[in-house]
């Protein structure tokens, strides 16, 4: 698709969408948002680029293969559940650590949500890149 407007808008929108996706992911525990939406928004950023400039540039700027995102996400989610096992609690018991700075809190739920984010983003991109590239 050779649209100047789309092409120009993509340059601006892609970083913005990526940033929004991270924002939505991180605030998800307390405000509307979370890993599912975040992953979808992140995927849309790269899908937008794939539509505007083609799949190869989108793949290049993603740097990792989508299926690595899927695998990494699943491992992250599983690891978040195993942390509690290491602490002697049953699998997937939530654990929270208060960070000494800014009153932030780290929790296994957040880690799990990051896993969800990665799987959703990876799966969507894997699907759409494959289908678009498959065009005869």
């Amino acid at each position: 698709m050779n649209s100047v407007i789309l092409s120009a808008a993509t340059v601006l929108l892609k970083p913005l969408l990526t940033f929004i996706s991270l924002f939505v992911l991180l605030r998800g525990h307390n405000e509307p948002g979370g890993g599912f939406v975040g992953g979808l928004i992140a995927a849309s950023a790269f899908v937008l680029q794939a539509i505007a400039h083609g799949v190869p540039p989108a793949r290049r700027s993603l740097r990792v293969r989508p299926r690595l995102l899927i695998a990494g996400g699943l491992l992250t989610a599983a690891a978040s559940g195993l942390i509690s096992v290491a602490m002697g609690a049953p699998f997937m018991t939530g654990q929270t650590y208060a960070l000494p700075v800014l009153g932030w809190k780290l929790s296994t739920a957040l880690l799990f949500d990051i896993g969800v984010y990665l799987v959703v983003m990876g799966a969507v991109l894997h699907i759409i890149f494959t289908l678009v590239e498959d065009a005869p």
């Binding site: 307390n30 509307p32 979808l40 969507v124 699907i127 759409i128 289908l131 498959d134």
Partner: protein, 116 residues
Amino acid sequence: MTLVLALTIGLLYGAAMYMIIRRSIVKLVFGLVLLSHAANLLIFTVGGLTRDHPPLAPEQAALPHPPAVADPLPQALILTAIVISFGVLAFVLALVRRTVASAGTDDLDDLRTTEQ
């Protein structure tokens, strides 16, 4: 409002089923999309409708009983259902594409046997 949504859901289901039982494999895909909308709305409506109050707990104060917010459980169910139906839709599309490419037809009645 439940009545309006009941009408909407009924129409969505009817339309989805009609599209699913067409012979054209392309229409089947649309049927699936409509069907997932219908199912999501059904769960959402049956779970009870609450205007404007998303299920967010207040910062400090205790929650009133019963909580005057929307039911979070159907929402959690639907949220994953939305994303998974996207995955299923993509899989179906890939399957349709492969089928049409290798069988050379989009008529489901021509796809009765596994042999070509």
